[in-house]
Amino acid sequence: MYLPDFEYHMPASIQEACALLAKSGPAAQVLAGGTDLLNKMKHGLVAPQILISLKQLEQLSGIEYVAGKGVVIGARVTHNAICNAKLLQDKYLSVCEAAHHMANNQIRNVGTIGGNIANAVPSADLPPILIALGASITLAGANGEREMALEDFFTGPGKTKIAPDEIITQIIIPDGSFTGSTYIKFGLRRSGALAVVGVAVAVEMDGNVCKKARIALGAVAPVPMRATQAEAAITGQTVSDDLLEAVGVCAAKECKPISDMRGSAEYRRDMVRVFTKRALRKAIDEGHV
């Protein structure tokens, strides 16, 4: 399979990249890892005339802790770099685990967190856990930067609020009071499969009482979604198996799955019940964020 012709640019700064995007309009696409974009181009699903590579923007490939802000992950950080980052393993192991269960080793060495978010695939693995942890993203445009909660970023399959002149530059996981979090991906194979259902939870426990919970679901709605009714059902409650079952039922009721080749809507809905329950149990028992 071959790629159609395109113009290739390798801007040396974020400003230059945004200016190029502003000038080129919809004819241009941003190239990060390329694991998704290049395949879509091979199939003729998209045909950008201009590719703007982030290759030279080294400032987008770091992971660091910024006091007062939280853990800041550059948009060009690869999935394997997330898995192997000591800082994330110590502070947000659940994010490393989510990255580790994506695609396969070769793809994880190339694909990036920014690309995973920008593509806005409903079954993407990183958005649910990042949303559960309250992450936000920084968008840089020709006229400056703005920050946005990740859960507000998606508008539909493949659609986001990104402006034509903007690129995602960083993902910020703020300091939080969570005592446990996890992401459970339910795919049909252990490797190289998209999620049939993905459930991410973050909880703040005080003894056996759940003071706060955030539950984010992947692959069961047009966008990664918060299960706010399920969150309300567990907040302030003493945790028991019966409660977790009831919370699972809540999440199953509020999700909006479709039927496709990976599973029917009914099946997905019931799996949301099961995996919400399991994810909460895991986050509560393992006690690491």
Partner: protein, 163 residues
């Protein structure tokens, strides 16, 4: 990276990529995929093309020591990087111990997945010289063998590690 425009207005780029220890400077178009650069430009046809979508792992090469699917990497993006292909493993007349082990354990059936399998295994053993069987299986999870000869492949990798 220098851009060159020909008389027809087509832009090409001067890339320098170190492959198997040798630096190659070539003129490529922006849409040249790494796998085609390796196979067509350098005639290193050990790297195979399977799905060409990053799913099957036949085209696995090491880029700066890490296994990647060369069918989803542009040659221009690899400018300045270091690539190892299956041809780069043997030294002089001696096969790499992984290659020897694949032969010894009959881990090669039709052979099409073998170069990619070995490159994934090579990256694993470099990082983790004594992997467990689950670690081996996970390392080659992105390499499909349609002869389904996984048992002997795993045996060969484990044996090479324990040599």
């Amino acid at each position: 990276m220098q851009a060159l425009v020909d008389n027809n207005g087509i832009t090409r780029y001067l890339v320098t990529i170190k492959i198997n220890g040798d630096e190659y400077t070539r003129v490529v178009k922006a849409n040249t995929l790494m796998v085609n650069f390796i196979r067509d430009e350098l005639d290193l046809t050990g790297t195979k093309k399977g799905c060409e979508l990053g799913d099957c792992g036949s085209c696995t090469v090491l880029m700066d020591g890490k296994p990647v699917n060369s069918c989803v990497v542009l040659a221009v993006e690899a400018d300045g990087h270091e690539i190892t292909t299956i041809e780069g493993l043997a030294t002089n007349e001696n096969l790499d111990k992984l290659q020897e082990s694949f032969v010894d354990h009959a881990a090669v059936q039709c052979g099409y997945c073998t170069p990619g399998m070995i490159m994934s295994a090579k990256a694993l053993l470099t990082k983790n010289p004594h992997p467990t069987e689950p670690e081996v299986r996970e390392a080659i999870a992105g390499n499909l063998c349609r002869c389904t000869g996984y048992v002997n492949i795993v045996k060969a990798i484990l044996a090479a590690a324990n040599e």
